[in-house]
Amino acid sequence: MHLKVEAQDSRYILLVLSGRLDMAGVREVEIAFAENTSGADRTVLVDMTEVPFVASMGVRMLLSAAKRLHGSGKRVVLINIDAMVMEVLKMSGVESLFDFAADRETALSRLP
């Protein structure tokens, strides 16, 4: 499991996750993910193209960023999410807490 900071400015940070967000994967990236989604109130874009699997620990990690932003008016935008991963978010009852975009360009064009 890898996390890469692809781009950022005062409005947003773009993170690219790759690998399986199961227990093992979350343990590998959760500290870096928390560090990069804390502090500044800016939109968090997460490119999920290379994430084929998310379990509840992964939902929890993604949700932690949404919680940190809550009240700032900024959102977590999940980019190009797998259909089954979307199903997991829906079944966890948390899909309304995220925004979604088909690709990076769309996500960037919608920045507040």
């Binding site: 227990m23 093992a24 699997f53 379990a55 939902v59 929890r60 949700l63 919680k67 199903e87 079944m91």
Partner: protein, 141 residues
């Protein structure tokens, strides 16, 4: 050889969970089970074995173990998980409150609930000091 059953007994730690997750994925791939059904079995394995590792035993001990069996049937996959830990019936676990707003939303505690929603059937029994959990995922032709 077309294997229809996978079984393994693992120690109750997260390294062992990672290894068996990989082994089950390879088994399903070899049996040409992919897509939604494979995802659901992998998810159930991850969530339910995580539960045993976290809450099944008070003291870490090499004797603690979980036995995982995956059986391929013509119309479904059955995942069986057996452990000798504390008696725990996940069917009786209270669902997390997902109706509240973001601030009230508890972090975690959704694994069992998620597994029940993503799979087709779950049964539980306790025999001779063992928890026996069986989870079914239907195969769509």
């Amino acid at each position: 050889m077309n294997r229809k059953t996978f079984t393994a007994t693992i120690k109750t730690d997260f390294t062992a969970l990672e290894d068996i997750g990989t082994a089950v994925r390879e088994f399903l791939t070899a049996a040409q089970v992919g897509g939604e059904a494979a995802y659901k079995i992998e998810l159930a394995l991850e969530e339910m074995v995580t539960n045993v590792i976290k809450y099944g035993y008070d003291v870490p001990d090499d004797a603690n173990s979980v036995t995982v069996t995956v059986s391929l049937l013509p119309d479904r996959i059955v995942l069986a998980i057996a452990d000798t830990g504390h008696e725990f019936n996940p069917l009786l676990a209270a669902p997390p409150d997902t109706a509240g707003g973001l601030d009230e939303r508890p972090i975690g505690g959704v694994g069992i609930h998620l597994t029940r929603k993503m799979t087709d059937a779950m049964t539980y029994s306790r025999h001779n000091g063992r928890n026996l959990l069986s989870i079914t995922v239907k195969l769509t032709p």
